[in-house]
Symmetry: C2
Subunit: 220 residues, 2 copies
């Protein structure tokens, strides 16, 4: 599954960069602001942006005075990130992290996953490893689609695989990978298994007051 995800992102990297550069994803107006406000205004100074993609969040947090390290598995995205700004970037996959490959420049005050957790298996192991790279009061922030996604799309309210990760996004994407949509209960179980406590939760709504994303703040 991890391989399929990486293949799909390698295939769609340039299209993704175009979509992000054009600010074509309507909901990002709300979700970008939410994650930036939350982390930017937190006391964390040194931040790990896991799955940083073309680096917009790394750069934006950097512009707010944070020291940010971006990690991603996709070379084309990282090259683009390096062209666009001064940030510090490394190529690493979730598999690398799970297998215990050291995360450069650790420890961090915070680690953020912004719309980049798709897997069913391995989530708890990934979070557990990232937790080891945090300073004593460090936290993990996860922004993801709101679990109400399932109901909004007339699916049964249970964790399940969704076929095409690119479906509904504006852009000429192909070979979408599957992603695992989770209920609240399923997220909570994964956090517990990773030895993490849910300390804060923010539900992000759009102009129609519908929830579009959720941000979990986790620590030991």
């Amino acid at each position: 599954m991890e391989n399929d995800i990486i293949k799909s992102w390698n295939k769609n990297a340039l299209e993704w960069i175009k979509v992000i550069d054009n600010a074509d994803i309507e909901s990002r107006k709300f979700t970008n602001k939410a994650i930036l406000d939350l982390i930017g205004n937190s006391p964390a100074i040194k931040i790990l942006d896991v799955g940083c993609g073309e680096g917009w969040l790394t750069r934006s947090l950097g512009a707010m005075g944070k020291f940010v390290v971006g990690l991603d598995a996709i070379p084309e995205l990282l090259e683009n990130a390096k062209i666009k700004g001064d940030g510090t970037y490394y190529q690493m996959s979730y598999e690398d992290i799970i297998l215990g490959k050291p995360i450069p420049e650790s420890p961090f005050d915070a680690a953020v996953f912004n719309f980049c957790l798709y897997q069913r298996e391995g989530l708890s192991q990934l979070l557990k490893q990232v937790k080891k790279s945090l300073s004593e009061n460090g936290y993990i922030a996860i922004q993801t689609l709101h679990p109400y996604f399932l109901l909004q799309n007339n699916l049964e309210y249970k964790s399940q695989w969704i076929n095409d990760s690119w479906k509904g996004l504006p852009g000429n994407f192909s070979d979408g990978h599957s992603w695992y949509a989770r209920t609240f209960g399923s997220w909570m179980s994964a956090f517990k298994k990773a030895g993490l406590q849910l300390h804060q939760l923010q539900e992000v709504t759009n102009d129609d007051h519908k929830p579009i994303s959720i941000i979990f703040i986790l620590s030991e």
Copy 2:
């Protein structure tokens, strides 16, 4: 507000007893089973049933071998509870608890609130006081309508007052009190303010796989 709630329950106590005795609330088939399974199968032996009403949960947990104390503010409900079984019952309001009146027979291994938290103000203080009546590894369980209620009823996804607590229930109820519907985020903030951590979360679904209730398990 607390006064309005108590007035409304005093007025509708007999009708409520009839509805419960007849098992007229369809969703209770799922929610009763969920709370009984969760608490009944937990290691907790001595349990406080806060807002016990006519005592079905107190009796059911008692039948599973637990020692249960039921608290309620409404005399007519408590009288009925005492007629129906052997449980131990005391009359106490949330205001009594918040003001520090000692909860009889403390400490407890668990305290449960099953569909009986309606207030906007005072929730954190109430939980904080109940927490003091728990044994060292004790927990608080709260079952309440799933926050998805707001979306199912075409309301904006934000915490808000809902007019009639009896609306939609089968029975000849009158003078319904208002109740405060909360988003997930709002529940989490109240728990944090009470010094409680969310340890477990269960989302209860019906036969159509729609969420109907949520159970929070909280402890220090």
